[in-house]
Symmetry: C2
């Protein structure tokens, strides 16, 4: 198994293959049911198998899906998504989040006729040679013209921009700091504002990579929460509730550059995922999913904090409540976290020890309360285990980096 | 419109948006019906909306599609596709053809710990910065470590391999020469055999990019027709009859290198396209689609040749009969071709003037005969037009190149 869904770096007993999914639940091939806090690593926003969205997919599929040209609803989807996202004046659709971030890089270079991109250390922007977190199969020229800064750190960003000099094509930024293995951080408005200023001063494009967090923090680009608008934003995962489509959205000033790069893919113009995305955007506009997942996330967070204290532990619950990362204090080798996650998994709760999780709109208060009850037993197990050694399989992590 | 489905470089009246597709037919948004010889630029092998394949997709979608891990049928699909393709001992699934060719490059570099790849001039291997045919947004380092040779030319290939010296990681090859704007060429067995020898001598990996032609020329890798087995082959388009999945297949010796690169995508592990691919492979094994499309393609080819001669024209019909490219002799500016294609389009036949076309298994002898009848009228129009100027919009082509 390759990629982000490999369980190689998860606790030993985590299931690799799943049989079935419905709403907030997942069943592995041995028939065990889980409340799934990974949501397909992001795509599941309104529940697995959401009926309206899937019906839109099936209806459009029967009418014509992957054809010799797009269906008219490609225009409708472009109009609806640019109406939702403040900074966006145009849209391009693709398949992978990596497609969208790679297009963003190409458009910025084409727009500015410059080469250098500035990125936050440890941020994930996809798995192509220019950005994949592991260096195997990557050659140094794949990573040429890249300068790294510390997320949320204005001085570090300024230094990177200074280093790029007159070759700065783009500043890449995640919507929040949602790196793996470390605490998450919400966006610092001072950093966001300064990134905008620096791009305006230099003529570079500001790119927010909203593939993972898009539609989970706002019904708009995630940076709209602090009033900062990027020039380009990349989207995927939740925009069609799991059906295969991603998107790059852009401001008017980048339109000409976007129109003159050559990017494409066999299924980029398929109609069925676009129909599913239209149905998803309707639910985004017309339901209280954003507020509801927020409340559920806070219920989980406060409940876990209470349970932890009761058992003598202290948790670091970082990031937005709808995209929680939960780690133990005093657990540098992640031993406690692995044992706790493993115990939860065996009690029907699918948590992740080092990647942010997701709350979906199909979850209920009862799901959260069931999770809290399972966590209580899991805390007991960790407490009874006493001293726990570091997780051996994580030694491989020394190789995982996207910054030099 | 961006990408391969933009009609920007097609005759002016070609429709950009389609409403509906069924079997061998396509309807544009104005309700005009076409016999579609583009087949979605390849994916449509068994007919648009093929019922068994689509039912497999829908059933699996309802059970669980994009989940937190793959379904068990990922293993089944890997087993079935490696059983079909002689050289393949393992499979990795992805979304774009470009994903598969990029993975092939990374695996070859990881396997050999070398950098240089050798490619045929003018061959299309995708639309990422390292391979996209247009240079806008691409920087020179994206194209580092690339050496080009002439397809089917043993001496040219040998020179490129010599130039790579001890840094040769891979030789890329198309299954046939199916470049745009120029005559196609079938594979020369001497070239294929020498490519295999050179890779064996140097330890480089031989990669056949079967994304476009896969399953159309053989129920195996296309190079199996001349008895040459690559180390890696990329697949897509027809392997799920239009549902979004592509694949990289590899030989045992490349397994370790494949297992240690980090590649992934949000929807790469989705179950529904894998179910559709299993249903497609069943039809590949159990029907005479390969022989039938061959007969239909030959009927079209000989009928068009006869009609052309009758009207005083001479055609260059190149490539395999199931993937025809049709151009006029004495038509360097493509004026005749554009007029002829436009006339066909207006008579319900969707041909392409400079990209290979496809015969699908849903076509019938009557479709071919209707096409021939329409072509007769189209030839008359070209004959009556007299001298035709070169196509102005193709001036942009001077920019289209993937070789230095």
């Amino acid at each position: 198994m390759y990629g982000h869904q490999s369980v190689r770096l998860l606790p030993d007993d985590y299931p690799q293959f799943f049989d079935r999914a419905s709403g907030a639940y997942l069943w592995d091939v041995d028939g065990n049911r889980y409340i799934d806090y990974m949501c397909g690593y992001g795509p599941n926003l309104f529940g697995y198998g959401q009926l309206d969205i899937d019906a839109a997919y099936i209806d459009r599929m029967k009418q014509g899906d992957t054809m010799t040209g797009p269906a008219g609803l490609m225009v409708e989807l472009a109009e609806q998504i640019t109406a939702l996202v403040t900074h966006a004046d145009w849209a391009m659709f693709c398949k992978n989040g990596t497609d969208a971030t790679t297009m963003a890089m190409m458009i910025a270079r084409n727009h500015t006729r410059r080469k250098t991109i500035v990125l936050a250390k440890g941020a994930y922007h996809g798995a192509a040679p220019w950005c994949t977190p592991l260096r195997n199969g990557v050659v140094p020229s794949d990573r040429a013209h890249q300068i790294f800064y510390d997320y949320n750190d204005v001085e570090s960003l300024e230094a990177a921009v200074r280093e790029a000099g007159d070759d700065l094509a783009a500043v890449f930024a995640s919507p929040i700091k949602h790196d793996t293995f470390v605490d998450q951080q919400d966006l610092d408005p001072a950093y966001a504002g300064r990134a905008r200023e620096l791009c305006d001063e230099t003529g570079a494009l500001l790119i927010v990579d909203d593939v993972r967090a898009g539609l989970r923090l706002a019904r708009d680009c995630s940076w709209s929460r602090v009033g900062v608008q990027p020039d380009l934003s990349s989207w995927g995962k939740s925009i069609a509730n799991g059906h295969p489509i991603s998107a790059l959205l852009g401001a008017e000033k980048a339109r000409a550059a976007a129109a003159t790069i050559y990017v494409t893919g066999s299924y980029w113009f398929s109609a069925a995922p676009m129909a599913a995305s239209l149905a998803t955007l309707k639910m985004v506009r017309e339901t209280d999913y954003l507020e509801r997942t927020q409340i559920l996330g806070e219920r989980l967070r406060s409940g876990l904090d209470e349970a932890a204290i009761r058992h003598g532990f202290s948790l670091r619950q970082t990031g937005p409540a709808v995209m929680p990362l939960i780690m133990f204090d005093d657990d540098p080798g992640l031993g406690k976290g692995y044992l706790w996650n493993d115990a939860l998994m065996k009690r029907g709760v699918y948590f992740h020890p080092w990647h942010n999780m997701f709350i979906c709109a199909a979850m209920t208060e009862k799901d959260i309360d069931d999770t809290l009850q399972a966590s209580d037993e899991a805390f007991k197990i960790v407490r009874d285990a006493g001293a726990i050694p570091p997780v051996e399989k994580l030694a491989v992590l020394s190789k995982l980096t996207n910054a030099d």
